[in-house]
C-alpha cells in the first residue's frame, strides 16, 4: 500500500516543530510512533501534504513526578508507561491500561501523545485518563494551554488540538491513601481495540467506605464517558461488592454505544455494566489491600 506523496520535516527542537506547525499546520500531520497515522496514509484515507516527525526532538519522552503530579512526555511509549516503576507505585491505573494496548510491538512504538491526538473512540488511555481527571498540555508558538482530557477529546478522531499546536505532555495525579484501580477491557481478539473498556478508581476512607469513586468507559460512545451515576451511587456508602453490583447497573445510563459488525449497541451497553462491576470489584480489593497495609 503506497501513500500519496508528502514532504517530511524532522525538527530537532520543540521550537522548530512549533514553527513548522505555525507555518504548515493546516496541511500537516504530526508523526510520533506512527501506529495510527501510517496505516491511514498507506490506505490513502489520510493524505497530508506535510508530515512532521517529532521523534528526533530531545526531551519529549519522560515520566517524572513534579509538583504533586506525574508528568508524562508525549513521546513516551506505551511500553515505557506499562513498565514505569513510578507509575506502578503512584498511578498504577495508567500502567495497567497501557499493558492492554495492542501487542508488544505496538507498545514499543506507539506513544501516549500520538494515541490521544488520534482520539480513537475505542482507545484504552482515554478511559483511564478520564477517570483520573488528567490534563493534557498543548503548546504552540503562541503559548501553552492545559486542558482536561475529557474536554480535549471532542468526538471520534476529533480533538481540540489546533493546527498550530503540539500535544507535549500528559499529567496524571499522584494517587494516595487507600486507593485501588483497575482497567477491564473486553476484546474479542487479543491486541484489538476495546469492545468496551472500563477504568475504575476507588479510594476508601479509613473506616472502609467509598470516599471517592471514579469510573470511565471507552468504546461506548463518541468519546470517553464518565459513569457519574455509578460514582454517585457509591460515594459515601459502605464499601461492598453487593453495592458495586447494584451501582454498576447505572453504567449504562445515557449510553448509546455504536453498533458495528462485531457487536451491537445493546451488547456494548450490557457489557458496560458487567465490566464496570468487574473493574470496581477489583479496584475495591486492591484498595482494601492497601488499607490493610497502611
Amino acid at each position: 500500500m503506497y501513500p500519496a506523496s508528502f514532504k517530511v520535516f524532522v525538527p530537532k527542537s520543540l521550537d522548530e516543530a512549533l514553527e513548522l506547525l505555525a507555518k504548515y499546520g493546516e496541511e500537516a500531520k504530526v508523526l510520533a510512533g506512527g501506529h495510527s497515522l501510517i496505516p491511514l496514509m498507506r490506505l490513502r484515507l489520510v493524505k497530508p501534504k506535510y508530515v512532521i516527525y517529532i521523534g528526533k526532538i530531545p526531551g519529549l519522552s519522560y515520566i517524572r513526578e513534579e509538583g504533586g503530579v506525574i508528568r508524562i512526555g508525549a513521546m513516551t511509549t506505551h511500553n515505557e508507561i506499562e513498565e514505569s516503576q513510578l507509575l506502578k507505585e503512584k498511578n498504577p491505573l495508567l500502567s495497567e491500561t497501557a499493558s492492554h494496548i495492542g501487542d508488544l510491538q505496538v507498545r514499543n512504538m506507539g506513544t501516549i501523545g500520538g494515541s490521544l491526538a488520534h482520539a480513537d473512540p475505542a482507545a484504552d488511555y482515554p478511559a483511564a485518563l478520564t477517570a483520573l481527571e488528567a490534563d493534557v498540555v498543548l503548546k504552540s508558538a503562541k503559548g501553552e494551554r492545559v486542558l482536561k482530557v475529557s474536554d480535549f477529546i471532542q468526538g471520534p478522531y476529533l480533538t481540540d488540538l489546533r493546527p498550530d499546536e503540539l500535544l507535549v505532555e500528559v499529567r496524571v495525579p499522584v494517587l494516595s491513601g487507600a486507593f485501588g484501580t483497575s482497567y477491564k477491557k473486553l476484546y474479542f481478539r487479543a491486541g484489538d481495540f476495546a469492545i468496551v473498556g472500563v477504568a475504575a478508581l476507588v479510594e476508601l476512607s479509613p473506616e472502609g467506605s467509598f470516599k471517592r469513586v471514579r469510573v470511565a468507559l471507552t468504546g461506548v460512545g463518541e468519546k470517553p464517558v464518565r459513569a457519574r451515576g455509578v460514582e454517585e451511587e457509591l460515594e459515601g456508602k459502605e464499601a461492598s461488592e453487593e453495592a458495586i453490583a447494584k451501582a454498576a447497573e447505572r453504567a449504562k445510563e445515557g449510553l448509546n454505544p455504536p453498533s458495528d459488525i462485531r457487536a451491537s449497541s445493546e451488547y456494548r451497553r450490557e457489557m458496560s455494566v458487567v465490566l464496570t462491576r468487574r473493574a470496581l470489584i477489583e479496584a475495591l480489593r486492591r484498595a482494601r489491600e492497601r488499607l490493610k497495609s497502611q
Binding site: 474479542f188 481478539r189 457489557m271
Partner: protein, 792 residues
C-alpha cells in the same frame, strides 16, 4: 528392514528455516530486474455495474506513467479465465472471467484499468486520476437471494445465477432409511465465508525476451506447472516458451492454486512494453481479489435410530462461488464435500445436491481443507445434536457409528485404506480425560461456570490423488506427481520435484527420504522446486498431497537409483549383482563386509564410466511419476474443552487434544507444525473469522482490523499425538497431514461451546461463535434471564 532408521520418523529441524527466518528468502517481491516497471490495478467502487466510459487521459499525463490499459486493450489479446475443474454431469455453465473487465464489473475485486509506471508510488497516484463512469446495477451477495426468481443476474451464460447443479446418491435411498429411523433431525447450517490470508500477498513479475520469444513469469503459486499450462493457453503462447518460477512462497492455504488476472496482465504487458513488469498485491487487494473459502448454506437432514445409530444423511447445499468460477472451484463443494458426507461412520445413505451459485462477491475456491471441513462440520454437529435429542453422551453416539475396521468401502464409493477408527477415538478420550471433564462440567455448572467438551472425529480423502478418479470428475489434469533425482559425481544429490512446498517443509522431509534410502548425510541432499525450467511437469502442493504423492515419487526414483547403483557396485567389486548388499551408504559383497564401495564411489564411477557393466549407461539419475492407486485417508479425533464466560460469552479453550493417524510420519516436528497451524485455522473459523459483505457488495472485513485472524495469544496449547497405521498402497506408508487440523478443529470447538450452553436449551448457533453472536443467540431465544437465574 530391521535396521534403525536414521532420518525417517526423526524430529529433524527444517533445512529451510535459517534462510527464511533470517530474512534471506527470495519472494517474488524480492525480484528486481533492470528496467523493471510497476503495475497497479484500479478496482471498482461498485460490486455490480456497467462500465459506461473510462477516461485515462489525466492519468496518462502524470510524469512517470508509461501507460494506462483498460479492458478494451486486453479483450482480444488475452483469453478470459475459465475453471480447470469442468465438473461432469453437473450442467456446468461456461462462465468467463475477463482479466480486465470491459463491459461489466461483478465484484469489487474486479480490475477496471491497469496503470504501468516507473515506480509504484506514481502508479498508485495515477489510479486516482482515472475517471470511470459506472451505471450501478442491482447487487446480490447472499446465495439464498441469488437463486430467487428476479434476482440480479451476473452472467448471461448462467441463468438464475446457477453455475452448476451436482447431485450424488450413495448407498440406500434416504427416504427408505428414514422409514427405519426413530428420529429425523433437520438443521440449517451456515458455513461462513473465510479469507485465506497468506502472509505473503500475491505477486508477479514478468520479463519477455523478444530475441528468443521466451517469457519468464515469477509468480506466487502453489503449482507453477499448472500456472504455466493455463497461462500459456490464456496468453496464446507456446508452453515451452513460457517459464514460470514460483520462488519462496509465503503461504497459500489454497489461495495460490488458482490462476488470477494479475499474473496474466503483467505477462501480457511485459510482452507488449518490452520491459519487465512487476505487480505486488496490496493487503487490501488480497482481501478483495484473492479467493475466499467455504461459504455454504447447508440444509441437513439426518435419520437416526434411538440407540444413536445414524442411518442416513441428506444435504441440500447452496455454495457461494462468488462472481466467477475460479480454477478449482467446482470440485470443492462437490467432490471434496459430498463424497465425505459419511465420514468415519457406518452411514448407510448419503444424498447430496449442491448448487454452485454466482453472487457479487470475491470468487470462492479451495481453502485449507476445501470441502472436507464443511462436510465434517455437518456430521460432527449432527452427531452432537442427535446425542442431545436422544439424551445420550456424544461420545456414545460416535461409538455406535464409528467404522470398526479398514479397508472399508463407504456408501460414497470411497475405499478407506487403513485405520483403527474406534481405537484412536478411545485414545483421544483417554488423553483428554473426557469423563473427568464431564464431572468437572457438572460440578462447576452448579457454581455458575459454563464448561463444555467437544468431540470431532473425522476422516478425509487427501493426497489428491489417482488420475483416473480426478479425470472422471472433470478435473483438467491427472493428479500424479513427478520427481527427477540427480546424483552428482561426488555423490551429492539434487531432487527436482514437481511439488511446490510453500511453508510445509519438504525441503527437509524429502531430503530425509533420500538420505534414509541412500544412506547419505541429509546435508548432501538439496530439494529444488518451483521452476518449470528445472523441474519435471508436476501438479504442485495442495490437498495434503505433497508427502504421500510427491514423497512417494521421491521414494520410487531413489529406488531406481539404488537399482542402477547396485549394478555399478557389482562391477566395481567384481561380484554378481545378486550378491551385493546395501546398508548405511555402502555396497558390499554378501558375507564379505570388507569388500565394499561407498555410494559416493559408485556415483563417481557412474560418471567416469570406464568400469560400467555393458548394459549400464553412464550417469546416475532417475525420474519417477507416481500416480497413486487411491487417495490416502487420514483420520483422528480431536477434543476441545472450553469455558464460556457467562456474562460476556467470551470463549476460552482450556484444553485441546488432537490424536491423528496420518500413517507413517516422516518428520514429527513438521507434522506437529501442520497440526498446530491447521488447528489454529480451525479454531479461527469456529470462534473468530468471517467475511462480511454489506447489501451493496462492499466487503466490510477488508483488513486485519475487521477480519479477525486469531493471534498466538488467542489460541491454546495444542496437544498433538500421532498414531501410525501405514497407508497400505503408499510406498512410504504415508498419508497427508496438512489439512487434518483445519478439518477437525472447527466442529470440536463449536461442539464444545454448544455443549457448555446445552443445558439452557440451545441446540445450535452459527459460526463464528464470537461473544456477541453467542449473547445474541441466547437473547433471541430468551435464555439470558434463565442463565442469570442459575441455568436450570
Amino acid at each position: 528392514m530391521a535396521r534403525e532408521r536414521r532420518y525417517i520418523g526423526k524430529r529433524i529441524k527444517r533445512k529451510e528455516d535459517p534462510r527464511l527466518i533470517t530474512g534471506k528468502g527470495l519472494y517474488v517481491d524480492d525480484i528486481h530486474l533492470p528496467g523493471m516497471v510497476y503495475a497497479a490495478f484500479l478496482r471498482p467502487p461498485y460490486a455490480h455495474a456497467r462500465i459506461k466510459s473510462i477516461d485515462t487521459s489525466k492519468a496518462e499525463k502524470i510524469p512517470g506513467v508509461i501507460g494506462v490499459f483498460t479492458g478494451e486493450y486486453f479483450k482480444d489479446k488475452v483469453a478470459p479465465l475459465t475453471t480447470a475443474w469442468a465438473l461432469t454431469n453437473a450442467d456446468l455453465k461456461p462462465v468467463k472471467w475477463p482479466v480486465v473487465a470491459y463491459d461489466k464489473v461483478r465484484f469489487t475485486g474486479d480490475i477496471v484499468a491497469v496503470v504501468v509506471a516507473e515506480d509504484p508510488y506514481t502508479a498508485y497516484d495515477a489510479l486516482e486520476a482515472i475517471e470511470v463512469e459506472y451505471e450501478p446495477l442491482p447487487v446480490v451477495v447472499d446465495v439464498e437471494e441469488a437463486v430467487k426468481p428476479g434476482a440480479p443476474q451476473l452472467h448471461d451464460e448462467a441463468p438464475g445465477n446457477i453455475a452448476f447443479k451436482w447431485t450424488f446418491r450413495g448407498g440406500r435411498d434416504f427416504d427408505e432409511v428414514a422409514k427405519e429411523a426413530d428420529i429425523i433431525v433437520k438443521k440449517r447450517f451456515i458455513n461462513q465465508r473465510l479469507i485465506p490470508s497468506a502472509m505473503e500477498t500475491r505477486a508477479a513479475v514478468a520479463s519477455y525476451n523478444p530475441a528468443t520469444g521466451e517469457l519468464t513469469v515469477w509468480v506466487t503459486s502453489q503449482n507453477p506447472h499448472v500456472h504455466r499450462l493455463i497461462m500459456a493457453s490464456v496468453l496464446g503462447i507456446p508452453e515451452h516458451k513460457l517459464r514460470v518460477i514460483a520462488p519462496d512462497v509465503g503461504g497459500g492455504f489454497g489461495s495460490k492454486i488458482p490462476v488470477y488476472p494479475g499474473e496474466v496482465i503483467v505477462a501480457r504487458l511485459a510482452m507488449d512494453l518490452g520491459r519487465p513488469v512487476k505487480w505486488v498485491e496490496t493487503r487490501r487487494e488480497n482481501f478483495l481479489g484473492t479467493i475466499h473459502g467455504r461459504d455454504h448454506v447447508d440444509y441437513v437432514e439426518v435419520a437416526a435410530k434411538k440407540n444413536g445409530e445414524v442411518l442416513g444423511v441428506r444435504v441440500r447445499t447452496l455454495a457461494n462461488l462468488g462472481a466467477y468460477i475460479s480454477t478449482a472451484a467446482p470440485g470443492v463443494p462437490t467432490i471434496l464435500f459430498g463424497l465425505m458426507l459419511s465420514g468415519p461412520y457406518k452411514i448407510k445413505s448419503v444424498d447430496v445436491e449442491v448448487k454452485g451459485v454466482l453472487t457479487n462477491t470475491t470468487p470462492v475456491d479451495a481453502y485449507r481443507g476445501a470441502g472436507r471441513p464443511e462436510a465434517t462440520y455437518i456430521l460432527e454437529r449432527m452427531m452432537d445434536i442427535v446425542a442431545r435429542r436422544l439424551g445420550m453422551d456424544p461420545a456414545d453416539v460416535r461409538r455406535v457409528n464409528l467404522i470398526e475396521k479398514a479397508p472399508y468401502t463407504a456408501v460414497t464409493g470411497l475405499t478407506y485404506d487403513s485405520g483403527r477408527y474406534l481405537e484412536v477415538f478411545e485414545k483421544a478420550l483417554k488423553i483428554a480425560e473426557y469423563y473427568k471433564w464431564r464431572e468437572v462440567q457438572s460440578e462447576e455448572r452448579r457454581k455458575g461456570r459454563l464448561i463444555g467438551i467437544g468431540i470431532s472425529s473425522y476422516i478425509e480423502m487427501c493426497g489428491l490423488a489417482p488420475s483416473r478418479i480426478a479425470r472422471a470428475t472433470g478435473f483438467g489434469l491427472g493428479l500424479w506427481e513427478s520427481v527427477l533425482v540427480r546424483v552428482h559425481p561426488t555423490g551429492k544429490v539434487s531432487v527436482y520435484t514437481g511439488s511446490h512446498p510453500h511453508g510445509q517443509g519438504e525441503e527437509t522431509s524429502f531430503a530425509q527420504i533420500v538420505a534414509e534410502e541412500l544412506g547419505i548425510p541429509i546435508e548432501d541432499v538439496e530439494i529444488v522446486h518451483g521452476d518449470t525450467a528445472q523441474t519435471p511437469f508436476g501438479m504442485g502442493t495442495y490437498g495434503s498431497r505433497t508427502t504421500p504423492v510427491g514423497g512417494a515419487a521421491v521414494y520410487r526414483a531413489v529406488a531406481k537409483i539404488k537399482e542402477k547403483a547396485r549394478k555399478i557396485a557389482a562391477a566395481l567389486l567384481e561380484a554378481r549383482e545378486e550378491d551385493i548388499e546395501f546398508s548405511e551408504g555402502k555396497f558390499y559383497v554378501k558375507g564379505h563386509p570388507e569388500k565394499s564401495v561407498t555410494f559416493q564411489d559408485v556415483a563417481l564411477a557412474a560418471y567416469t564410466a570406464d568400469k560400467l557393466p555393458p548394459d549400464v549407461e553412464p550417469g546416475l539419475e532417475a525420474i519417477a511419476f507416481y500416480d497413486p492407486e487411491n487417495f490416502t485417508f487420514p483420520y483422528g479425533t480431536h477434543i476441545a474443552v472450553v469455558e464460556v464466560d457467562p456474562e460476556t460469552f467470551k470463549v476460552k479453550i482450556l484444553r485441546y487434544v488432537a490424536v491423528d493417524d496420518a500413517g507413517v510420519i516422516i518428520n514429527p516436528l513438521l507434522a506437529e507444525g501442520q497440526v498446530h497451524g491447521g488447528v489454529v485455522q480451525g479454531i479461527a473459523q469456529a470462534l473468530y473469522e468471517y467475511a462480511v459483505y454489506d447489501e451493496n457488495g462492499n466487503l466490510l472485513t477488508a483488513g486485519f482490523n475487521d477480519y479477525m485472524i486469531p493471534t498466538a495469544l488467542d489460541v491454546p496449547n495444542i496437544e498433538s499425538y500421532f498414531e501410525e497405521t501405514p497407508a497400505p498402497h503408499n510406498p512410504l506408508g504415508a498419508k497427508g497431514i496438512g489439512e487434518t487440523g483445519t478439518i477437525a478443529a472447527t466442529p470440536a470447538v463449536v461442539n464444545a461451546v454448544l455443549d457448555a450452553l446445552a443445558h439452557l436449551g440451545i441446540e445450535h448457533i452459527d459460526m463464528p461463535l464470537t461473544p456477541y453472536r453467542i449473547w445474541k443467540a441466547l437473547k433471541e431465544a430468551g435464555l439470558l434471564e434463565k442463565l442469570k437465574a442459575g441455568g436450570e
